[in-house]
Structures are given as C-alpha cells and as structure tokens.
C-alpha cells in the first residue's frame, strides 16, 4: 500500500475580535490508498476544520498558518485555484452533516448531479444525465431516470444523503471525506448510510475519512482511528488496538470508562466530566490536564508530543501523553470498562 494523502503539521486558526481561535494545532496523519480512517472527538475539537483545511474550503475568518497537505506528492496548500477546483470533487469528494440543506432547492436533482460530471469529466449534458441515473440506482434510489427531474424537497433526508454520496462519488475520487454524514439522520437510516458507504468503498476502492463524534460507528467501518482533542491528535491506532488497548486518558474517557477525577464513589462516567479548553487561550502544556485523572506535574509544564506507545501491538499506535496509564493505579471506584 502506498500513501495517498500525507498531512503534515497542519495549523488553522480563526481571527476573532479579541485574537485567534486555535482550531487545528499541528495535525499530522497519513491516509493509505483504499484505507478507511475514522476521526473521532467531541464536537468542537477541530474535526471539520481539519478536513475543510485539506481542500481550502474554510470560511473567510480562517487561515491556514502552517503545514503541508500532500496528495500523491502534490501540496494542496500550494496549488492554484484552478488546480484546486480539479482536486475538489475530482480527487477528493466530501459529504456533510446536514443532507437537508446540502442540495440547492432551485435546481432539479439531474441538473445538480450532472454539473460535476460535465465540469470534471467533460461529459455532454446527455451523457451526464444518463450517468447520474445510473449513480442514483447505485446508491439505492430506484427509478433513477424519473427521479432526475425531481427537486430536493421531494426527497427525504436519507435519500438526500444518498444523492450527496452519489454526487461526491460521481467523478471517482481517490478520497471520500464523510463529515458526520449520519448525525442528522434517524437511527435506522444511519445504519443504511454506513452500509452504503462500505459497499461503495469495497466496490470502488476509494479511501475514506469518516468523521464522527460517536465511537460506536467506528468499529464497523474503520481500519485506523485518530482521536482529536482541542485541535490536537491525541491518539492514533489501528481500530482493534484502539478499542483493546487505548493509551490516552481522553480515548479511555470517550469509551465511557474513565475513572472519575474527584474520586466520587460509584459514579460511572459515560461522558467525561469538565469541558474542553478555550481554544482562544490554549495552555502550552497538556490541554487535557484539567479533566485528566492521571495528570502529574509534568502535564502542567510541557505539552506531550504524539509518539509511539510503549509495548505497542502495532507500530502505528501513537499517543500524546506523559503517563503510561497501564502503570498507574487510579482510584477508579468501580468505573467499568464496559458501558
């Protein structure tokens, strides 16, 4: 397998009235061809901003301060607008959280689906429509040809997400970035969408970045997982290693098994107490220390780097923590490993 996407030291911040919101703080990761990478973390930890930074789709207040985004060796942060437009949709497809508002209400589905095919693939309008009908059937919308003439409001949320998936996959991108694509949908529909993406991935060999704040989806779809906190990657591991042997206290917390900080008796936490740090005023030491039951003095003076963990079952298992949590006895007071 070869590296498809190589993100190095990415830093993105937002200009706000009093200063900057440091949303992404030196994020580095690699995506191999055909691989599925999950990105997890609480809402607001920088997952979306990281992904939007890759293809420079950020709002005006944001700026990328540092980093490289190498797609098969070309730095997407350096290429011109014209090349960038070819990458968007052509090389990297994206789907977003809210399918209800992701389609233009004024254009019918067929025209909307044709545009990228005409633009990226140079198809004629007729060819593009025929291809769009096929794509609709491919994502599980039967009678595709008839439905091309319909407008978004005639589709349910789940159907619209299917349309979005069909559109983002229409130009056969190498990477599909799915930013919480099921969060806004009913539970039953969520499972269908996950299945659909898996099926398309297996058929086309597209590499997938699946973003979610919900670890439970991850096990079924991902090869590898990245855990983000306050704009940092705090742990990275193959999916099995992460679930069986999490090394960062925050990851343990996400799994609902973090011992309580105050040591209150009998509390079993499914969410982590406390709240994430203010991104406008990040400490220059471990950003998790206010919520961490393992914290030691060093945590309040130095920020840990993302480094390979000791005795790892896999070389790619890395965490950013000063403490080897396996060696520490915390007053867990009955916090269970299962939730």
């Amino acid at each position: 397998m070869s590296v498809l996407l190589d993100v190095q030291e990415l830093q993105t911040r937002f200009q706000v009235r009093k200063g900057y919101v440091y949303a992404v703080n030196g994020v580095s990761f690699k995506l191999e061809e055909g691989e599925t990478l999950a990105v997890v973390g609480e809402s607001g930890c920088g997952k979306s901003v990281t992904m939007l930074s890759l293809v420079r789709l950020l709002p005006p207040a944001a700026s990328i301060e540092n980093g490289k985004v190498l797609l098969r060796g070309d730095d997407l942060l350096q290429i011109d607008q014209r090349q960038l437009r070819d990458v968007r949709g052509g090389q990297i497809g994206m789907i977003f959280q809210d399918p209800m508002t992701s389609l233009n209400p004024f254009i019918n589905i067929g025209t909307q689906m044709s545009e990228p095919l005409i633009y990226h693939r140079g198809m004629s309008k007729k060819e593009a429509l025929a291809r769009s009908a096929e794509l609709l059937e491919m994502v599980g919308i039967p009678d595709g040809e008839a439905r091309l003439r319909e407008y978004p409001h005639q589709f349910s949320g789940g159907m619209r997400q299917r349309v979005m998936i069909a559109m983002s996959m229409s130009c056969e991108p190498a990477v599909l970035i799915a930013d919480e694509p099921t969060t806004a949908l009913d539970v039953t529909i969520q499972a269908q969408i996950v299945e659909l993406v898996k099926e398309l991935r297996d058929r086309s060999g597209v590499a997938v970045i699946w973003i979610t704040h919900d670890l439970s989806v991850v096990a079924g779809i991902a090869d590898r997982v990245i855990v983000m906190y306050a704009g940092y990657i705090v742990e990275e591991a193959p999916v099995d290693a992460l679930f069986e042997d999490p090394r960062h206290p925050y990851t343990v917390g996400l799994m609902g098994a973090l011992p309580s900080l105050e040591g209150e008796t009998g509390t079993r936490l499914t969410t982590i107490g406390g709240s994430p740090p203010d991104l406008e005023d990040l400490p220059d030491f471990c950003p998790f220390h206010t919520r961490c039951p393992y914290s030691i003095d060093r945590c309040r003076t130095e920020n840990p780097m993302l480094e390979p963990v000791a005795d790892a079952s896999d070389r790619g298992h890395r965490a950013a923590c000063w403490v080897d949590i396996r060696e520490v006895e915390v007053q867990s007071n009955g916090a269970g490993a299962s939730s």
């Binding site: 005006p60 968007r88 992701s102 209400p105 990226h120 407008y151 409001h153």
Partner: protein, 323 residues
C-alpha cells in the same frame, strides 16, 4: 427499509413531478394563490392604461369645461370634474402613466444602486461592507419626506437655471420643458430613499446564502465561483427580492403622492394621483368625488402589488412546496 422509504414519497407524486419543471410549477402555484390572482388584474390594467390611456380617455387631461366646474359624476363626466372643469376620469387614466413611470423608474434606479452596493458589501466585506452599512443607516435615519423636501428646495432652482442655459446654448426644445426637472427630482428622491432597503436585502441574502450548506457542497465539488453565483446564489436570492420589488413599486407610488401633497411631487400639468388626492383633500367634504377616484386607485394598486409579491415569493420558493 430502503424500499419503504421510497414508496413513502408516493408513486403518483413522482410521475407527476417528472413531467413538470420549476417554472411551470411556479406558475401553477401562483395560479392557485387566490389573492395573487386577484391582484394581477388591477396591475395588468394599470400597465395597460399607462400604455394606452391617452387613446382611451374621453377628454384631454387639460381640456377645461368652464360650464361644468366641480361637476358631480354624470353620464358626461363619469367621475365628475375638478375646479377647472377638467374631466376627473380622464385625469385618472393619465395619472396611471405617472404612477407607472414613478414606480418603474424609481424602482429600477434604486434596485440597480442597491444591487451594486449590496453585492459589494456582501462579497467584499470588511471596510466596504462597513461603509455601505453606514451609508444605508445614515440614509434610512433621515425622514423620507424631509429628504425629498430638502432635495427639492436645494436642487430645483439650480437645475432649472441649468436647463435654461442649455436651451439658450443649444436651442434644443427639450431643455424648455421644466417638467423634466420635476421628474428627475422626484425619481432621484425616491431612489435615494429606497436604495438602502434593496442594498441591505441583497447584502443579507448574499451573506446568508454564501454560508449555506449547498454552496459549500457545490464548492466541495469543484464548481467555479461564477457558476455558483448564477446557479446557487442568485436564484435563491430571487424570492425575497421579487417581494421587495413588488412592494417597492407600490411604495414608490404612495411616496410620490405624499411628495405631491407637500408640493414637492410631480407638478402640473401631468396629472398624478398623489397631486389629485392632495387637491381633492382640500374640499373632500363638499366634493368627495375629487378624492374618491384617485384614492381608490392608489389603494387598489398598492395592495395589489403587495399581494402579488407575496404570491410570487411563495410560488418561486420550492422549499414551501409540501413534500
């Protein structure tokens, strides 16, 4: 589950929808809106009268019948005559021309200015945006009628003097008609009063549409900016704009009549409903027929424009179409 979800949307609906398009749907929606349909008739009639009024009127708008001054409605003068014995019905028909030109021209000017200023503000942001917002706030904080009076008082005399000079220099009879000065001042004042509304509307639309998910999704698909503007931003901004323009046309006509009432509107000899209303108001207790005709016309037209605007907005907005 998948098939259930599909059949839930209804086979009949699918078959029907596939044969229609957005504009045909919009027309059907408009036709189903009773108020909007009712409103279309007076508006069509207004434009028709404005275009052909002079051929329809029984009398010239200046023709005076001294034997029948302030006459009540009769078979000879359907809506009676005014102080100078002029036929009120004929003057109302001519007044439609004034109303339509005031509505069209002032709306066109303010819309163009508003579009340019609003788009600049919405797109460029930063200082340009701050400047435009400040300008619109300044303009809107001044009372409209006061603004019109100030414009009239300060510009009328110099403009007329300039016209006189131009006439003497060129001998072009165009410059003899001081009526143009009136029109320019009225249109100018109306445009000045109305552009901030359009500018703020466009600015708000651009800001809100630009951050909508479907624009992000289109950008993520690599669509060029020009295409996003024409296919995504403009069509989505159209609904509110159409409502505003439609209401603005009615509004401009009402404002013009207020100007006339204060003596800074379109002056004689062209009849304007506003002028007729303000003249009629002086003796409405003794001769109500002078007031009723133009006032009713004005009311009907204003309400019609408002209803039509609402109807168009609903018809053009697919998000409101069930489903």
């Amino acid at each position: 589950m998948t098939t259930q979800e599909i059949t839930a949307t209804g086979d009949i609906e699918i078959a029907e929808a596939s044969r229609t398009n957005l504009w045909r749907d919009a027309v059907a929606r408009l036709a189903a809106n009773r108020l909007a349909v009712v409103a279309i008739l007076p508006i069509v009639l207004l434009f028709f009268i404005a275009a052909f009024g002079p051929y329809l009127t029984p009398y010239d708008f200046l023709a005076q019948d001294f034997t029948a001054r302030l006459a009540s409605p009769s078979s000879e003068h359907w809506l009676g005559t005014d102080e100078l014995g002029r036929d009120v019905f004929s003057r109302i028909l001519y007044g439609a021309r004034t109303a339509v030109s005031v509505g069209l021209v002032s709306t066109a000017i303010s819309l163009i200015v508003g579009l340019v200023m609003g788009s600049l503000a919405g797109y460029l942001g930063g200082r340009v945006d701050m400047l435009v917002v400040w300008l619109t706030d300044m303009t809107r904080s001044m009372p409209a009628l006061l603004l019109a009076i100030v414009i009239n008082l300060t510009l009328k005399v110099p403009l007329e003097a300039w016209m006189e000079q131009m006439y003497l220099a060129s001998k072009n009879t165009f410059f003899r008609q001081t009526m143009w000065v009136d029109l320019v001042l009225v249109f100018g004042a109306l445009a000045l009063i109305q552009w901030p509304g359009y500018a703020r509307l466009i600015r708000g639309q651009i800001l809100s549409i630009r951050s909508r998910n479907y624009v992000l999704a289109a950008r993520a698909l690599g669509m060029p900016t020009g295409r996003i503007l024409t296919r995504y931003v403009i069509p989505n901004a159209m609904g509110p704009l159409i409502v505003a323009v439609s209401a603005g046309m009615g509004g401009a006509m009402v404002l013009e009549s207020a100007f006339s009432f204060l003596g800074v509107g379109v002056q004689l000899p062209i009849p304007s409903w506003g002028k007729m209303i303000s003249d009629g108001l002086r003796m409405w207790q003794t001769h109500p027929h002078l007031l009723v005709g133009p006032a009713v016309m004005m009311a009907v037209i204003t309400v019609s424009f408002a209803w039509l605007g609402d109807g168009l907005n609903d018809a053009l907005n697919p998000r409101q179409w069930g489903g």
